[in-house]
Symmetry: C2
Subunit: 347 residues, 2 copies
């Protein structure tokens, strides 16, 4: 198996996902700034894993600052929160984790706790976020397994697996949940350009688990659907608006439209922490535009002529009307989502 | 400018499209077998360019065999026809060009012509196929220009340009025709995995012509359509069935479905030689399955774990119902295509 991210006595240790599948190398990050950079550079990616990594980074920042006076400690932590929040704009779990850590620190300070106590609280909270995420994924897997018939051919886009979470995965959590429930299934993995999370990460972690995996390019999904070779689609999400619109890896919307055209159910799997109740709809979700070189180069080799115009949005928005159900860690939400998602929060 | 393929005194000279955009290198092929291999290995690709290349290769084969006795000559030519036809299965222009060459040779032989005369006829016929293709593309450009409004943002998939034909292009012929008619337009080029014809070839040849080009990954088209950033789609085709179903590069069907969902016109540009009147519908078109390594490796570097399952169909079929019009060298066909395409042949 592999460890996506963990807190050790030396720092925050994470698997460098940019080098997969050829090289399995772990990086030891020794400051919150290094963790923020690793998030920006996609050493780690996937909304839940980004949240967990940020929390570990902040805990490390607090532990490293215990010798300061209280005002200096709080100021350093403010800088860490700000820098961490600037790492990537779309995944809401990042802001959710930072907010949660901030609140724990604030409450402890108000309660008269010293730096050492606050740092201990933050270390505990980060580990808690990690452990809860793992539990959430397993719950998603249990709920989602019901949606997967034995013998299904399931298409997924990008990587919403153990590598995108503290482990187990969201979309791939549904896959693992179905397999644990004794169902046999084949996963079709979109390669997911430009970063190739499907070929590099999803294929890699499913093959480690011995799950039947077939890699396709992003352009093949429609043709396979038309030929009746795909039974359902399950993807993760980086942010879900209150109305059920979902932001996910660029190319997700294409798959959703194609699924609708072929009457194939399109499911989204994500923990409640991915739902941004302050975001009324998908158009309010900020979409990150990344370096054009991700599209025009491959490992430094140019694949496009110099100077060509490029678009490289990292995410797209799929309106709720394309989503058959959202599988969360608290149960399955169905349309209309404004009501069903709110009900899961209230439960 | 560039030359896609030409017959010289030394052999058949073609631009090695596998090396673009970084290297502009021409190969000199000295036998019909070498031409067939070049077609299989995609040194040259694009249905019309494949047809022209095959014709030049057969002409070369005939010229090289003139010293044989007539029976030996005819036998050698039969071998060339067979080997050439096995190079790739989907592009109908390949079979159309071989058939045309075969017929010219057969008629000349029946008329009592000697080997030298037949070879001269075949050399002439091949050059004719080349020149007609260039003229066809220009005609497609003139007809297609009417469909393109000034200021349009036009999406294309794969490369149906000068590199896919004797020059000028089919889908990109429409672009060039519109530009020559004084219209300003932006071309959005799908990168077109796995072979990257969009980034490597379409971007390259459009930038040579100074046409505004924006490269996107195949997964971005839907999101751009939803945001109102694409006005029309124009693609080429490798084979068009009598009912208007079209086979084209894998990923074309995805674009067609997305265009329909967003009420964006989806046009196909191809000469009449791409229409296979013996093929009643798209399901009768053979679809080539290519080497999985095109998906799992990049320039020899693995991007997927060893042993993963892979699908790599080179083409998909888009049913006629998604096609707003087919722009041919003899005019624009509109639904129902069974009638409108037949009428263009009769005209």
């Amino acid at each position: 198996m592999f460890i996506t991210v963990e807190r050790t006595s030396e720092g925050v240790r994470m698997l460098d996902q940019r080098l997969l599948p050829s090289t399995e190398k772990y990086l030891m990050l020794r400051s919150p700034g290094e963790v923020a950079d690793a998030i920006r550079e996609m050493v780690v990616r996937g909304a839940p894993a980004i949240g967990v990594s940020a929390a570990f980074g902040l805990a490390m920042g607090a532990s490293d600052a215990v010798e300061r006076d209280p005002a200096g400690f709080d100021q350093v932590m403010e800088q860490h929160y700000t820098r961490m929040a600037a790492a990537r704009p779309t995944a809401v779990n990042l802001f959710w984790a930072i907010e949660r850590m901030k609140q724990v620190a604030g409450e402890a300070r108000s309660g008269g706790m010293d730096n050492k106590g606050i740092a201990a609280r933050l270390e505990h909270e980060a580990q808690q976020i990690h452990d809860e995420d793992l539990e959430s994924c397993k719950a998603i897997g249990r709920f989602g397994a019901e949606l997967v018939a034995d013998g299904s051919r399931l298409l997924t886009h990008c990587n919403a697996g153990g590598l995108a979470t503290a482990g187990y995965g969201t979309a791939l959590g549904v896959v693992r949940g179905a397999v644990e429930a004794g169902k046999k299934l084949t996963v079709l993995a979109d390669e997911t350009r430009p970063f190739l999370q499907g070929s590099r990460l999803t294929s890699w972690e499913l093959m480690k688990d011995g799950i039947d995996t077939v890699l396709i390019t992003d352009g093949m999904s429609g043709s396979l659907m038309r030929r009746g070779e795909i039974d359902l689609v399950v993807v993760g999400s980086d942010r879900i608006a209150a109305n059920g619109d979902i932001a996910n890896k660029i190319g997700t919307y294409n798959v959703a439209v194609l699924a609708k055209e072929h009457d194939i159910p399109f499911y989204v799997a994500a923990p409640l922490s991915t739902i941004d109740r302050n975001c009324p709809d998908g158009d309010s979700i900020p979409i990150e535009e990344r370096d054009p070189k991700e599209v025009t180069e491959f490992h430094g080799t140019p694949v496009a002529p110099e100077g060509v115009g490029v678009k490289n949005p990292a995410f797209d928005v799929t309106p709720a009307s394309y989503v058959k159900a959202i599988v969360t860690d608290k149960g399955i939400a169905r349309p209309p989502y404004t009501d069903s998602l709110a009900a899961l929060f209230d439960a």
